[in-house]
């Protein structure tokens, strides 16, 4: 119980800080919307090809915008040496990590939910035909992005070039997760349910989440203290 309370305390603190400063939300949301807008100029919204790559465009926007939220996750602990005080507290590294990941997850999902209707308008797609399955894909893929991004945010927090290093480290690791999310989102936005071979992509997403969450929880103390 103490573990969950400490985890929720960290998550609530991060969310409260973000709501007060709006540093990451404003930057990330506007960046995602601008990317969607620019892509909509580059591709003809009425063409079949655009619909076939819709999932890819959507997840590129989410992945690029997400990095702005994830970069702030541990960087917001740097002023006044707050990260030292968190590390010096009896909070297990796993609770600290999961609390931060939970806050990032809520922020990323919020940004994605705002972007989806805008995406529907710009690309002339009826994205909500399989809403339940699409939400499932969003939940699973966003958790994958969040877990990997939060670990690398901790790893790069003391680097001067962390804004550059985080995406360089994070995106290669995220390739399987993003591939699955893109494929499944394209299928669902195209009006088809997840069946046949596509179920394997869903399993890949679940497996990715389990493996990387377990690895992160085991390794986070080493990442934070060295």
């Amino acid at each position: 119980m103490a573990f969950i309370r400490q985890m929720l305390t960290v998550a609530a603190k991060d969310l409260r800080s973000e709501v007060r400063t709006k540093e990451a939300i404003n930057a990330s949301l506007s960046f995602a919307l601008v990317i969607l807008l620019l892509f909509s100029f580059a591709f003809d919204p009425t063409s079949e090809t655009t619909r076939e790559i819709a999932g890819g465009l959507l997840w590129l926007a989410f992945a690029f915008a997400g990095v702005l939220v994830l970069n702030r996750s541990f960087a917001r602990e740097l002023p006044n040496d707050c990260l030292d005080m968190l590390n010096a507290s009896p909070v297990p590294g796993a609770a600290l990590f999961l609390g931060k990941a939970l806050a990032n997850y809520v922020l990323l999902l919020g940004i994605e939910l705002v972007c989806l209707p805008v995406f529907g308008v710009f690309y002339n797609v009826t994205w909500y035909r399989h809403l339940g399955e699409l939400v499932l894909v969003l939940l699973l893929a966003t958790w994958g992005v969040t877990v990997v991004g939060t670990v690398f945010s901790a790893l790069t927090v003391n680097l001067r070039l962390r804004e550059i290093m985080l995406p360089m480290l994070m995106y290669p690791v995220l390739i399987p997760c993003l591939m699955a999310a893109m494929r499944l989102s394209t299928v669902l936005i195209g009006g088809e349910p997840i069946t046949g071979d596509d179920v394997a992509w869903l399993r890949l997403l679940i497996g990715f989440d389990i493996i990387f969450t377990s690895l992160a929880v085991v390794l986070i103390d080493t990442v934070l203290i060295g």
């Binding site: 707050c82 010096a88 507290s89 009896p90 060295g226």
Partner: protein, 232 residues
Amino acid sequence: MTALAVEGVWKYYGDYPALRDIRFAVEPGQCTALLGRNGAGKTTLIRILAGLSRPTKGAVKLFGQDASVRATRAQVGIIGHGIGIYDELSALENLKLFAGLYALESPGRVAEEWLEKTGLARVKDGLVREFSRGMRQRLAVARAFLHNPRLLLLDEPFTALDDRAIALLQGLLRDALREGRTVLMSTHQLREALELATHVVLINRGKLAHTGERTAEMLADPGYLYRVHGEA
């Protein structure tokens, strides 16, 4: 049981040995002044004691347990170089946050009590970023003491404090020592430190130069220790 045992601690930064075979013990109820010139290794040692850095060789035990075990940290209060307080949260939110992280029974009540003790109750809902330097420092002191730690690790605690915060911290440290808690503080302010200290540890360029009880000579002449055991 020894409150703090430093057992042959070495710390390398690359090829440079910042700490070389440091060994000493602090018994419960002692107030130990950790002294040394700039760059002697005091902060490195305090970071290792606080579990913020791992020694390259050797071990640190807090109340018989390895310092890297997170659960032992519930018994330690820290004042470091940074105040460890969130600017975008209020004073009350900051203390409730740390009370929650230390799994205290009623974080709200404890936070209110410490705001009262540090004279910040009047501004408890104000954001820390709007506080004066002195108010922030008093809040940092409250943060370090609010979970009633058995061991206090203080790294240059009097540096940059205003008069009110110095008086507050000295009072709290005297109370803590009366209650049998253990204090280890690194400082350059020899007179303030030696007035409180029962024992002294002197580090010189990463090596232990002296450890023992604080003597009358040290109190009468704070430079004595450096002349006899450290570099002149």
